[in-house]
């Protein structure tokens, strides 16, 4: 909500700025074109990351210097550290690179981004850069139209460079024109107050733009047109260095723990160098003057001096932080620990329960019911339904119509979290217990173990079902949609009926014999489904491919239903009661059920 409001406020402010000042419009357009250029450049380099970049990365990570150089070179070429960060995170995640090595590369990348300031200050502002942009754009577009991937990549890189140059020119022109109308230099501030204020401004601008390279170009363009003072430009550069960590933080939000640690290293480094530059600003300015003198840079060439400052304080940061890469990695690994997925643990299986046969059986029985709760939840989620609706009195068709769209549900993750641990614990418990006791309890445990296996099979069945269910649920063919609606109905129906049996709502209505009804229903549903699908194929209402998928999916449904019913017969029926003992004599065998279903065939 707040994020959206801020976004629209920013758009409103920009629109107001465009209306009030044409020069402001030119500057912001320059930033937008520059950012677009950066994106194009990254896209272009991505075309080559299918092997070359990875191969170089693999071969250049055996020493600290190589890692640093790799970071510097790659970022200099791409003018952005984002793509490199993604690549390094993927390498760390795959175990091909350790965190300390990754940190080394990221330090190098930080140093590499400072080359942008040199290029803009030394080349961009001194020549008609837009003149170079035009041919680059033309060649870029032509190469983009070719069919070869590599040429397309080169085209994208040229386009990126062209837009970068064009963006720089726009920013430069904007500030030059701005100078005639408004003098921003009147807001120049001196002393610590000025330093901290401009550091803050630098942070804010970079957080908004989310690219320190673009902020640096903006600062250099403003400095070149004398809209800001040299001292304030230094503070803005420090601010942009700190502000760029927001990109790393935002990127890490969606990354795994390894990506987060790398982002942590990035933040630590940039904040440290920023603080160092603030504290030792006078010393850095002196050092920059000395270095510029030796490099032959004029004392009044403030844009190049700013580029030198940017490089120097980052370089000092790298020199100080590089030896502590390893401890930093250890620190980050200690502080930022992977959150273990909350795995559902057994509630009833205890060592003491193993001591007595009856308590052991009761524990496994209770735990199996616990597993059923988790399994039925996963099965219903996978078919896009909720337990509260399925267990309600509401008509099942209405319940399914209430959720016409099935959301993608990560069954593997749910299985790991809610099934695997419990199932393993039950199997381990049963294997420790079953051979030590008398026959009766061992037999009961054997049946319970099979019931657990049937539950797991049912969950695996729904995983097979999910793929087509997600795909065909939104099909334009309403016959297919109807058939998948039927599939959802059949699965939900069994779970609803088992819910009634489990909660002993139908004790008086003969639970064991009620299972016969369910068995009969699922057999009949299957027969009906096959007939319907065959008719749909015959009448060309669905394709043969879709029809065979439906037949397979109906087989999965039948397996899910059968597994759940077999499990329920073991777990939900209390065979100790006299009534159930009598029911057992009346329960129909499979053969007898088929006779009821197909009387003519028998």
């Amino acid at each position: 909500m707040i994020k959206n409001s801020l976004f629209f406020l920013l758009l409103g402010l920009l629109a107001l700025g465009f209306w009030l000042s044409a020069d402001f419009k030119t500057i912001v357009a320059g930033i937008a074109i520059f950012l677009f250029g950066m994106l194009s450049l990254q896209q272009g380099f991505k075309a080559f990351t299918g092997g070359t970049l990875e191969r170089i990365l693999r071969n250049t990570t055996d020493s600290t210097i190589k890692r640093l150089l790799f970071g510097i070179t790659t970022t200099t070429l791409m003018q952005s550290s984002s793509l490199l960060s993604v690549l390094v995170i993927s390498f760390i995640s795959a175990g091909l690179l350790d965190l300390a090595a990754g940190i080394g590369i990221i330090f190098g990348a930080n140093l590499g981004t400072t080359t942008g300031a040199w290029l803009v200050a030394g080349f961009g502002l001194k020549v008609d850069i837009a003149g170079y942009a035009m041919p680059l754009l033309v060649f870029g577009v032509i190469l983009q139209l070719t069919k070869q991937k590599n040429l397309q990549g080169i085209g994208q890189i040229l386009l990126g460079l062209g837009f970068l140059f064009l963006g720089i020119q726009y920013m430069k022109d904007g500030f030059d024109a701005f100078k005639g109308n408004i003098d921003l230099s009147q807001y120049a501030m001196i002393g610590m107050r000025g330093l901290l204020t401009y550091v803050l401004v630098g942070i804010v601008i970079t957080v908004i733009i989310q690219a320190s390279g673009a902020t640096m170009v903006l600062i250099i363009a403003a400095l070149a047109s004398q809209q800001i003072s040299y001292e304030n430009a230094l503070a803005l550069a420090i601010g942009s260095n700190i502000g760029t960590t927001i990109t790393a933080i935002l990127g890490a939000l969606g990354a795994n723990i390894k990506g987060k640690r790398l982002a942590g290293a990035h933040v630590l480094f940039n904040v440290f160098t920023g603080v160092l530059a603030i504290v030792l600003l006078d010393q850095f300015v002196w050092l920059v003057d000395v270095l510029c003198h030796y490099a032959g840079i004029a004392t009044d060439d403030y844009t190049l001096k700013l580029a030198m400052f940017h490089t120097v304080f980052n370089l000092v940061g790298v020199i100080i932080m590089l030896p502590v890469c390893e401890p930093m990695a250890r620190f980050l690994e200690k502080v930022m620990q992977e959150k273990k997925a909350t795995v559902d643990l057994p509630r009833f299986l205890t060592v003491s329960a193993l001591q007595y046969p009856d308590t052991a059986v009761e524990s496994v029985y209770q735990e199996t019911r616990h597993l059923y709760e988790n399994a039925s939840h996963i099965i219903l989620k996978a078919i896009g339904l909720h337990r509260r609706d399925v267990y309600s009195e509401q008509d099942l068709d209405e319940v399914i119509n209430k959720y016409p769209v099935i959301k993608d549900y990560d069954i593997d993750e749910a299985y790991e979290r809610n099934i695997k641990g419990l199932y393993s614990a039950i199997i381990e418990f049963v294997s420790q217990a079953r051979f030590t006791w008398e026959m009766q309890q061992s037999g009961r445990l054997h049946w319970l173990r099979d019931a657990n296996l049937q539950l797991v099979e049912a969950v695996k069945g729904v995983k097979h079902l999910q793929k087509n269910l997600l795909k065909q649920n939104r099909s334009y063919n309403h016959y297919l949609v109807d058939e998948y609606h039927r599939i959802r109905y059949q699965v939900a129906m069994v779970i609803r009926e088992l819910g009634k049996i489990k909660n002993s709502e139908v004790v008086d209505e003969l639970p064991l014999l009620s299972m016969d009804m369910l068995k009969g229903r699922i057999k009949e549903q299957r027969q009906t489904a096959i007939e319907i699908i065959e008719n749909l194929i015959r009448e060309h209402k669905i394709s043969a491919e879709a029809g065979t998928s439906l037949l397979n999916d109906n087989a999965y449904v039948y397996d899910i239903q059968s597994n759940l019913l077999s499990m329920a017969e073991t777990v939900f029926i209390n065979y100790a009661t006299d009534s159930v003992k009598a029911e057992k004599e009346l329960a129909l065998t499979d053969h007898e059920l088929l006779e009821v279903l197909n009387p003519s065939r028998h």
Binding site: D508, E509, L510, L513, D516, M517, G520, R521, E524, D578, S579, K581, A582, E583, E585, L586, A587, L588, E592, L593, E595, V596, L597
Partner: protein
């Protein structure tokens, strides 16, 4: 313990199997009775039902209950 009581106990001991059978008979009979109640309930629903698919499902339930009752009656006959 008087003689009558003693004789009654001896009779119980020798007729234990018969008693068990009787109990089983009564229980199965009870289940059949419940099944008949259930059958009538479903038949009423069947008569009131308009939905074709639902009717089919209810008819299947009636048929299954009928088969269970028949099986129960056969068991009772054999006892």
């Amino acid at each position: 313990m008087n003689k009558i009581k003693l004789l009654s106990r001896l009779q119980d001991f020798f007729n234990a199997d018969k008693k068990k059978k009787k109990k089983r008979f009564e229980e199965i009979e009870g289940v059949i009775k419940k099944l008949k109640v259930k059958e009538n309930k479903i038949k009423k629903m069947l008569n009131a039902c308009q939905d074709v698919e639902m009717k089919k499902a209810l008819q299947l339930e009636v048929n299954i209950i009928q088969a269970q009752i028949d099986k129960g009656k056969t068991v009772l006959k054999d006892l």
